[in-house]
């Protein structure tokens, strides 16, 4: 590969579209607070993309912090662990926000937080050992998607990877968990990067940070540009434009390398691996201690939260307990979000537990929660000019309304990543992203039906 392709970019490459979302990073300058273990945690068996785990403990079993409580033989999955020490109370079904039901292990804490005695630093001298260890750690993409990390890191042999991109864009409003990760855990980020790149043989690492986090850029630059911490000079920081969705995988790859991941393909097809900053930092800690993924830094914010802050919580803590820890609600919450306001999932109550891939829980009061009514499309074209995938949401919505599958395919509905920029920008307040999401589902069903007919 020629040098120009692997040189570090001085400034980000052009990325199309993008919405000017408000930042609302209220919690950026306050240090994360560690939340003590709650009396009970609920460990869901489905905290990743892929096959759900099966509980491997039963009621009455004694568990410790880091004990595996659920696993499966399926490769695309990640085991789940107890985040407290105590006793398994029951195994029961929990309704997920999507409406699906998942098994969950309810564990009563003894308040001791005793680590599992079997925990020891994993052996990770070869790539194979490393990938096995990453899976055993239960690591999934911590940026929100929850894709099992060992699958992502297990690059097919025929793909040549030259760049590891560390995703610190954090383009969603409110969320500052990654921002705090960089400030509070910078050494771990760097050592995690080195662990991954040495084993995968990658020589170029780009840490992409949105320009609205100058302190994080400074801190990461100090480390990345220091010979002591980056002896091979393979890590550089790239300041990205503060524009939503800068942290979306395909957009980030374009901004950092100028390459477009082909439609329907993976980052590896563009020679890249993208990892969230919290994920690499976790890898470093895990390799040193062997403690699997049992805690997560969350941004708790929104107009209904009394004390917005970043909290490090045991995974499985019910959201209601996290909210109590943050001083409770200062007004009746009318919308509860798992994730950011642009792509987060609205929950129906706060009894659900915190998941591995969560990075924020937002609670909105009436005023913030209520969306304005839709009015007629005035064809202003804002959805077209903000779409980071250069799609035409106007045409897609027409196609969905008419159930015109050919038109949906012609305008490449499946390239839509549902970032919500179109709905955000729409002056007529139309639910564009929702309509397209519906269309994608309709198309999938139609294609499955056609397959069934054949």
């Amino acid at each position: 590969m020629d040098r120009s392709k692997t040189a570090f970019p001085r400034r980000p490459f052009f990325t199309p579209g993008g919405a000017k979302v408000p930042h609302r990073k209220h919690t950026a300058s306050s240090e994360s607070v560690i939340m003590p273990s709650p009396e009970e945690v609920i460990i869901l068996m489905q905290q990743h993309i892929g096959a759900p785990c099966k509980p491997c403990v039963s009621a009455g079993d004694r568990v410790y912090v880091g004990t595996v409580v659920g696993d499966t033989d399926n490769y695309v999955s990640a085991p789940v662990h107890s985040s407290v020490s105590g006793t398994v109370k029951k195994i029961d079904k929990v309704t997920l926000p999507s409406g699906a039901k998942s098994d969950a292990v309810f564990i009563e804490s003894d308040g001791q937080d005793t680590p599992d005695p079997d925990i020891k630093p994993p052996k990770a001298d070869t790539l194979e050992e490393f990938l096995t260890a990453v899976r055993a750690a239960g690591l999934v993409g911590l940026g929100g998607a929850g894709f099992p990390a060992h699958v992502k890191l297990n690059v097919p042999k025929d793909k040549e990877i030259d760049t590891l991109i560390i995703n610190c864009a954090e383009c969603e409003p409110y969320i500052t968990a990654d921002h705090r990760e960089m400030l509070e855990n910078s050494w771990a980020v760097m050592s995690g990067i080195y662990a991954v790149t040495e084993l995968l043989g990658i020589d170029r690492v780009i840490i992409g940070i949105e320009g609205n986090k100058p302190d994080a850029i400074r801190v990461m630059k100090e480390i990345a540009d220091n010979e002591k911490y980056d002896p091979k000079d393979k890590v550089r920081v790239l300041t990205l434009k503060s524009s939503y969705p800068q942290g979306a995988e395909k957009v980030l790859i374009k901004a950092c390398t100028g390459r477009e991941v082909p439609a329907g393909k993976l980052p590896a097809d563009a020679g890249c691996i993208v990892m969230n900053v919290a994920s690499v930092a976790f890898i470093s800690t895990y390799l040193k201690t062997g403690m699997p993924l049992v805690k997560k830094r969350l941004t708790i914010d929104g107009s209904a939260v009394k004390n917005p802050q970043n909290v490090i919580v045991p995974i499985g803590t019910p959201i209601s307990k996290v909210m109590e820890f943050c001083g409770g609600y200062k007004e009746e919450p009318r919308k509860l979000l798992m994730g950011g306001p642009m792509m987060g999932l609205a929950l129906i109550d706060d009894s659900l537990p915190v998941l591995k891939q969560n990075n924020a829980i937002l609670a909105f009061g009436e005023k913030e929660a209520r969306l304005e009514d839709e009015s007629a499309c005035i064809r202003c074209g804002r959805c077209v000019s903000t779409c980071p995938m250069r799609l035409m949401p106007t045409k897609l919505c027409e196609a969905v309304k008419l159930r015109d599958f050919d038109k949906m395919k012609k305008y490449q509905i499946n390239t839509c990543m549902e970032c919500g920029s179109c709905s955000f920008a729409c002056p007529a307040k139309r639910h564009i992203a929702q309509t397209i999401r519906l269309g994608k589902n309709m198309l999938r069903q139609e294609q499955n039906k056609q397959k069934g007919d054949k």
Binding site: V261, G264, P333, M342, T415
Partner: protein, 310 residues
């Protein structure tokens, strides 16, 4: 914990709204409206009032008759009324203005489904209907208050022999013409406001005006006169940029505006009509869906724009 909103993402929206956009358009037309009052007196203001009122009332009644949600609150009818008024001669019989307003809202806008559904610009279509129906009344231009010529009806710069008006007269609007189209400065000021507020992109006005200037120059006409006179500025800045009837794609806007420019010069030069802005925009309005289909941007990560998914 009850009554949670469980809507689909995104959960926040930009502050822009149809109403705010229309309000910005109204604000951007204020300088031109003021200029028309300065040049043509209070008659101009009353004509604006007649058009706006008729448009709003027509829309209100239409929505009731059609049993649809009331839409006069989005202020688009006000914009149509104001735009139409500014495209009329100041001495026009108010009843003709009322007729034009009803045509704009009832026939062109509401019969096709209301805001966002009309295939041509309502104010523009109404102007053309009036020009065809009342050719004399629509081309009887009153002199401005400051013109030394004492005739009641004076020629517009488009119809006048070359050299009748100085560049300065054209720029500040001291010449005959429709109420709002005379003062170039006021129109450009409004255009700049719209661009700064993000209501329109500069593509369409810049390309349209540029093509007219260039082509007139090539055909041996004075490009400055070509740009500053007639309805070009009000057309390029306020009519051609109408969201509903112009392409949403970046290249579509360029082709559309260039088409407007070429047609304007051709009509001005080779037809019996001294003015071609209205017809040019009307024709390009009709071509908009075609242009848009041909200029769909290449989706991210795909090779050709017309390629089907997978």
């Amino acid at each position: 914990m009850n009554k949670m909103y469980a809507s689909s993402s995104p959960h926040i929206r930009a502050t822009a709204s149809t109403r705010k956009i229309m309000l910005d358009v109204i604000i951007s037309l204020v300088p031109a409206a003021i200029a028309s009052v300065v040049y043509f007196g209070w008659r101009a203001l009353s004509l604006c009032g007649v058009c706006i009122l008729t448009c709003v009332v027509t829309e209100y009644l239409c929505r009731i008759v059609m049993k649809r949600d009331q839409t006069i609150g989005d202020l688009s009818a006000v914009v149509t009324g104001l735009l139409l008024a500014l495209n009329l001669p100041s001495g026009l019989n108010p009843l003709i203005a009322v007729f034009g307003s009803v045509v704009a809202i009832l026939v062109v806008k509401q019969m096709f489904g209301g805001i966002g559904m009309n295939f041509v610009n309502p104010a523009l279509a109404a102007r053309i209907v009036l020009m065809v129906s009342f050719p004399t009344a629509m081309t009887t231009w009153t002199n401005t208050a400051f013109q030394s010529v004492d005739a009641v009806s004076s020629a517009t710069p488009m119809a006048a022999p070359a050299g009748t008006y100085s560049y300065l007269d054209l720029l500040i609007g001291n010449h005959g013409g429709s109420m709002g189209e005379t003062c170039a400065l006021a129109l450009v000021l409004g255009g700049i406001y719209l661009v700064v507020r993000g209501v329109i992109k500069p593509t369409i006005p810049v390309v349209y005006i540029g093509v007219v200037g260039l082509l007139s120059f090539v055909l041996g006409q004075d490009p400055v006169v070509a740009v500053l006179s007639g309805g070009l500025l009000i057309g390029a800045i306020f009519m051609a940029t109408d969201y509903t009837t112009s392409p949403v794609t970046p290249w579509g806007k360029v082709i559309y505006a260039a088409g407007c420019g070429v047609l304007t010069v051709l009509i001005r030069t080779y037809s019996n009509n001294p003015e071609g802005v209205s017809f040019s925009i009307l024709i390009m309005n009709i071509l908009t869906p075609l242009i848009e289909n041909m200029t769909a941007p290449r989706p991210f990560g795909s090779k050709k724009s017309k390629e089907g998914a997978k």
